[in-house]
Amino acid sequence: MNSMQYYSPNTLDEYQKIYSNITGKNILVFAGGTDLMVGRHELPQDAVIIDISGIAELKGIEKKEDKIVVGSCTALNELLYSHQIQNNIPILIKAIKTMASEQIRNRATIGGNIGNASPAGDTITPLVVLEARIEIFSPESNEIRTIPIEALFRGPCASTLQNGEIITKIIIPLRKDKGIFCYFRKIGQRNAMTITKASLSAIAKYSSSKIEWIKLASGSVSPVVKRMSITEEFLKGKELTTAVINEAKEIIAREISPITDIRSTKAFRVLITKNLLGDCLYYLIRQQNI
C-alpha cells in the first residue's frame, strides 16, 4: 500500500547516497520530529522520511577560538546544560529555558527549530542577533556552503533550502568586547509548553551612558524573523532617555508586520512588541547602574 518510506543514515555520505537513489518523491528531513509529528496527519502519504538524528557529524558543541560551532542535530537540552553555551552565549540559554518541556527539549534539535523556519521559533531570534551563520550540505552537489541565518528564511515556515539540502552546523561568532548586554523575553499564554505570541532578542553594548550598538530581532511579528534595523539605527549612539525609549517603541511598532492568527491578535502583538522593547531598554539601564 501507500506506506511511507523511512531511512536513517549514520553519516552525511550515507545521506547523500540515500538521497541520490530517490527520485521525484517528497523528501522529509526528520531530526527530533517534534514539529513534524504535530502535523503528521497532513504529511503527504508518499513522503520519504530521512531521519538524520543518527548522523554523528551533526551533533555536538565545539568552541573554536572566535566562534562556537553547534551541530544541527544537537538537542535543545544539550545546549541548555552545556558550559560552553552557558558561559559564552547566555542569550541562547535564556531562550531555550522558555521552550517546550523537559521531554520535548530532550528530542527537539536546534537545527529543527531553525529548519522549521517558524517566526515563533525561539532559538531563531537569539541566533539572528548573534549574527550566526548556517552551514548547509547539498546532496546534489555534495558541497557545503555557509550563509547568514537570516538568508535562510523565505516566509512563515518556509526556508530557502532546496533539493535535500540540510543544515549541518550553526556557527555562532563570539564577540571580543566585554560587558555585552543580552535580553530575551517571550510572551505566551502559559508558563510552559507555550508557543510565542511575541518575543524580543537583543544584544547591546552600552558605554558612557550611550548605546554603542544594539542588535534586535522580534519573534512572531513578521513573516520571517529579521533584524529590526531601523530601530537599531535609531538607538545607536543615543542616551536612553524616556523620550528616546518612547520613540524607539513607536519605530519598532512600524517596523514589524504582525497578523491576527490562532495564537494572538495584531493589536496585542504590536502593543507587546513595544512593551518588550521598553522592558529591554529599561532593563539595560538598570544593569548599567549596578
Partner: protein
C-alpha cells in the same frame, strides 16, 4: 472527632483502580482487540451547511481491503436520533447541519485501505449560507437551521417572581451588564473509542467503549438498530476522562459502529483521532448574559432582570437540561423578591453544545458573582458584606419559590471558612487601596499601560471571592432513581455494581467504601464488577454530581438488605430477641448486649449453608421535586450544596498574564466518603475552572473549529495553577448515604468567577468576557471575539 463514628467512611483511601492506572495496566477501549476486527473511518464534508445532492460511494467500494461502506440506507431503525429531541442524523442524507456531521463509514480490516477509500467518496453538497453568530439566531430574517421548527429556538425557560418594575422602583442603585463566555472543550485525555461486536444470537450486539452513560447509549443504539433494549449490551471500558463529554458523541459512534457491525458481521471499531474528537464532540455552551440588578442603599437586592442566550449549535442535545439549571440558579445564592429571568437556547451551524461538568452553572456564576462584587463597589461595601446581607440563610426562599429548609444552608459557613483561611479581608483592602476601581469601570485603566515585565512594581496582586449554591442531582429534569446490586460470597468477599458508571471520578471506590462501612468489612474485600447494561438495572445517567448521593444511597440500601438477613440468621442461631442490635465493624459482627461475636466471613459461610440469600438489589428514588414551566416556580431540587472559592492572582500588567497563585476552596458536600477522592475532585475542578477563567476557548469561525488539537486549544499545565487549598464543611444531608451530597461540579463552577474578581481587585478594572487571556487584559478583546 465525629469521624470516629465510622470505620471506613471519611478516610483517605487510594482508589481501587489507582495502581493499574499509574502503571499503565488499565485497559482502555482502544487497548482491547477482537478477532477479525474491522476499523471504520467516518466521512465528513468540508461544507458546514448545505443540501446533500448526491453521495457516490462507487469508487470507494472498489478499493481492495474495504469490506463495506455504510450510509443512511443501511440504518435498520431510526436514523434521526438525540438524547432529548430527535434532531440529529446518525448518517447525514439530505442535509449537512454542521461540520461534525458524518455521511458515511468506510469499514475494513486494513486501516490504510479504509483511509484511501475515504478520499474516494464523492459527496455533492449545495452550500447554504451559514449561521454562526448565535446572538442573531432569533432575528426575524434569521436563516433556519431546522426549518420544520419554524424558528431557531430550542427552548425557552421563563421565571417570574414578584413584580420586577416595582423592584426597580424601590432600588437606589441599578446596574446593567452583559457577560459572555466561550465554547469549551472537555479535553479528556482519551479520545473516543467504540467497538461493536456481533453475537451468535440474531440481532444481539455487544458494544465496548469509553461510554459515559451506558443506558443512554443502549437506548440510542436500540432505536437505531430497531431491536429490543435487552439485545444491546453496553460494556463500559476504563474511561480516560469524560467530564460530561462522552454521552451523545459516544451514543452516535456506538450506533454507527453497530450499523456497520450488522452489515459486515464482524467487530467494528471507531477510534477518533484528537482532531476528529474535537471537531465532532459537543462543547460547553457559549452564553451571552444580560443582567440588570437593582439594590437599595443598604445593599438589599430588590430586583434582578436576567436575559440569557445560549448557543446550542446544530442539535438540541442537552440544551434543554443545561439551560434549565441556569434558570434555577441564575440569581445565585441570593434572596431577591422580584426576579424576571428568560433563558433561551438556539440552533446555529456551530459545533453542538451539551453536557459538560458544571452544566449551565459556570456561565451564570461568572456573571452573577462578578456582578455582586461590582455592586459592592458601587455601594462601598466589602464583597463579603453584600453577600452576607443577601445570601441564603436557613429557610430562605429561592428565585423559584423553594424554601430551603430540609438541609443545612451553609453559605455563610463556607464563606466564613474561606475568608478566614485566606485572610481575605485584609488582602482585599490592601490591594484595593493600590488601584481602586475608577468611577467608570469601563474606562481604560492606566496601570495597564505599564511596560516593564520584569520590575516588581509591574506585578499586581489581587484576591477575589465567589460562591455558589447548587441543586444536587437531576432535579425536575427527569426521573431520578437508581439501583445497585450486591452479592456476598460465602467467604465474605463481595461483588458490587451500581446502575451509575465509573467515569474516572472514583465512583467504584466511593461505592465500595459505602458497602464496606455498612457490612463492617474493608473496601479491599469488594470486587467491583465491570459496567455492563445487562448486569444491573437502568439507573439513569452518571451526571449532575449525583453518583455519591443517589447511587451511594442505593448501594447502602442493597448492603443493608443483606445485613438485615445476616442479623436475622444470627438472632435465630444465637437465640436472641428480635430487637437485638449488632455492630458490624472491623470484619466482625458483635451482638451489642451479650458481646457475642463472629467474623463476617464466618457469618457469611453460615448463611450460605443455611440457604440465606446474600444477594440483593438496592434502590433509591429521589424525593419529589416539581417545576412549573410557565412561570419557572417550584422546588427544583431536593437538596443543595454550597461552596466558596477565593482566588489569589498576580497579574503582569505589561503582558496581561494572570498567574493563579493560590485558590482556597471550601465546599459543603455533606459527609465526605473518600477524603482522598474528594480532594482530587477539588484539585481537578479548580484547575479546570482556572483554565475556563484564563485561557480556554474553542475558536469557531464560520461554524468551523479552528483549534482542533492541544497545540492550539490551550489548557493549563501543572505550572499554570498554583497552590490549591481544600477544605470541607460537612453538614450531613438527610437523604444521602451517611449524609453525603455532591462535589464534582461545584468544585469547577466557581473558580473562573473568583479569578475575575481577583483580577478586578488587582487592576481596578473589570472584565466581562471569558477567558481572561492576555489579549483581553491588554487590548480588551479576547482571541475569540476577534475571530468572529
Amino acid at each position: 472527632m465525629k469521624n470516629n463514628i465510622f470505620s471506613v467512611v471519611g478516610k483517605n483511601l487510594p482508589r481501587t483502580d489507582a495502581y493499574e492506572k499509574v502503571t499503565g495496566r488499565a485497559q482502555y477501549a482502544a487497548d482491547i482487540s477482537f478477532p477479525g476486527m474491522c476499523f471504520a473511518a467516518q466521512k465528513k464534508t468540508t461544507v458546514p451547511h448545505g443540501i446533500i445532492k448526491n453521495i457516490d460511494i462507487s469508487q470507494a467500494e472498489r478499493v481492495t481491503g474495504v469490506e463495506v461502506i455504510i450510509t443512511h440506507k443501511d440504518v435498520p431503525g431510526n436514523n434521526i436520533s438525540g438524547v432529548i429531541k430527535y434532531d440529529q442524523p446518525v448518517f447525514s442524507f439530505d442535509k449537512i447541519y454542521c461540520p461534525a456531521d458524518v455521511v458515511s463509514l468506510v469499514v475494513g480490516e486494513d486501516k490504510e485501505a479504509v483511509q484511501k477509500a475515504l478520499t474516494l467518496i464523492k459527496i455533492e453538497v449545495e452550500e447554504l449560507p451559514v449561521l454562526s453568530d448565535y446572538t442573531h439566531a432569533l432575528d426575524k430574517d434569521a436563516l433556519l437551521i431546522h426549518p420544520e421548527n419554524k424558528s431557531n429556538l430550542i427552548n425557552h425557560y421563563p421565571l417570574r417572581k414578584g413584580n420586577i418594575e416595582k423592584g426597580f422602583q424601590e432600588s437606589d442603585v441599578i446596574i446593567e451588564r452583559t457577560y459572555t463566555t466561550p465554547a469549551i472543550e472537555h479535553a479528556y485525555i482519551e479520545p473516543e473509542c467504540i467497538t461493536a461486536v456481533p453475537d451468535f444470537r440474531k440481532d444481539v450486539y455487544k458494544i465496548y467503549g469509553s461510554v459515559q452513560n451506558p443506558f443512554t447509549c443502549r437506548r440510542i443504539v436500540a432505536q437505531v438498530m430497531k431491536v429490543p433494549l435487552a439485545n444491546i449490551h453496553i460494556i463500559q471500558n476504563e474511561l480516560g476522562g469524560s467530564f460530561g463529554g462522552k454521552d451523545d458523541t459516544m451514543d452516535m459512534l456506538a450506533a454507527r459502529a453497530c450499523v456497520a457491525c450488522k452489515k459486515v458481521g464482524k467487530p467494528v471499531r471507531i477510534h477518533l483521532s484528537r482532531e476528529e474528537s474535537i471537531i465532532e464532540s459537543y462543547k460547553r455552551h457559549p452564553y451571552t448574559m444580560n443582567y440588570k440588578v437593582g439594590v437599595s442603599n443598604k445593599g438589599i437586592l430588590k430586583a434582578m432582570k436576567i436575559d440569557i442566550l445560549a448557543d446550542g449549535g446544530a442539535y438540541a442535545s442537552m440544551s434543554p437540561f443545561v439551560t434549565w439549571r441556569s434558570v434555577v440558579q441564575a440569581t445565585g445564592p441570593y434572596e431577591v423578591k422580584n426576579v424576571h429571568t428568560d433563558v433561551r437556547a438556539v440552533y446555529t451551524n456551530n459545533p453542538y453544545t451539551g453536557a459538560m461538568r458544571g452544566f449551565g452553572s459556570p456561565q451564570i456564576i461568572f456573571a452573577q458573582e462578578s456582578l455582586m462584587d461590582e455592586l459592592a463597589d458601587e455601594l462601598h461595601m466589602s464583597p463579603i458584606e453584600i453577600r452576607r446581607i443577601n445570601g441564603y440563610k436557613q429557610d430562605s426562599e429561592t428565585a423559584s419559590g423553594q424554601i430551603l429548609s430540609n438541609h443545612v444552608v451553609s453559605l455563610n459557613q463556607v464563606i466564613d471558612k474561606a475568608t478566614k483561611e485566606s485572610d481575605f479581608e485584609k488582602k482585599y483592602e490592601t490591594y484595593k487601596a493600590k488601584y481602586s476601581v475608577e468611577g467608570n469601570s469601563h474606562s481604560i485603566n492606566l496601570i495597564l499601560n505599564d511596560n516593564q515585565f520584569s520590575a516588581g512594581s509591574n506585578i499586581k496582586e489581587g484576591i477575589g471571592l465567589a460562591c455558589s449554591f447548587r441543586g444536587c442531582s437531576l432535579g425536575a429534569e427527569g426521573v431520578d432513581a437508581t439501583g445497585s446490586l450486591i452479592s456476598i460470597q460465602k467467604d465474605g468477599s463481595v461483588y458490587l455494581i451500581s446502575g451509575l458508571a465509573e467515569n474516572g471520578q472514583g465512583l467504584r471506590m466511593t461505592f465500595s467504601m459505602i458497602a464496606a462501612e455498612t457490612l463492617g468489612i474493608s473496601p479491599d474485600d469488594i470486587y467491583y464488577l465491570e459496567q455492563d447494561t445487562s448486569r444491573v438495572a437502568d439507573g439513569g445517567p452518571t451526571v449532575a454530581s449525583r453518583s455519591t448521593l443517589v447511587g451511594g444511597e442505593a448501594v447502602k440500601n442493597a448492603a443493608e438488605i443483606v445485613k438485615k438477613r445476616i442479623e436475622k440468621m444470627l438472632i435465630d442461631e444465637w437465640e436472641l430477641s428480635e430487637r437485638a442490635t449488632f455492630k458490624f465493624a472491623d470484619h466482625y459482627i458483635v451482638h451489642e448486649g451479650s458481646g457475642k461475636k463472629i467474623a463476617v466471613s464466618e457469618a457469611c459461610d453460615k448463611a450460605y449453608l443455611n440457604g440465606v440469600n446474600l444477594s440483593a438489589y438496592g434502590w433509591f428514588k429521589a424525593p419529589e421535586v416539581d417545576w412549573d414551566e410557565e412561570i419557572g416556580q417550584g422546588p427544583a431540587y431536593f437538596t443543595y450544596v454550597y461552596g466558596c472559592q477565593i482566588a489569589e492572582v498576580e497579574v503582569n500588567a505589561a503582558s496581561g498574564k494572570i498567574l493563579v497563585k493560590r485558590v482556597t476552596a471550601v465546599h459543603d458536600a455533606g459527609q465526605i466518603i473518600n477524603r482522598l477522592g474528594a480532594l482530587g475532585q477539588i484539585y481537578g475542578g479548580v484547575s479546570m475552572g482556572a483554565g475556563y477563567g484564563i485561557m480556554e476557548e474553542v475558536i469557531v469561525k464560520n461554524a468551523e473549529i479552528q483549534n482542533i488539537n492541544f497545540d492550539e486549544y490551550l489548557i493549563p499545565t501543572s505550572v499554570d495553577v498554583g497552590e490549591i487549598r481544600a477544605f470541607f464543611v460537612e453538614n450531613p444531608d438527610r437523604f444521602g448515604p451517611f449524609g453525603a451530597k455532591s462535589l464534582g461540579e461545584p468544585t469547577l463552577e466557581i473558580t473562573a468567577a473568583a479569578i475575575n474578581n481577583a483580577v478586578a481587585n488587582a487592576l481596578g478594572k473589570r472584565f466581562y468576557h471569558l477567558p481572561l487571556d492576555l489579549e483581553q487584559i491588554k487590548t480588551g478583546k479576547t482571541l475569540y471575539q476577534i475571530k468572529k
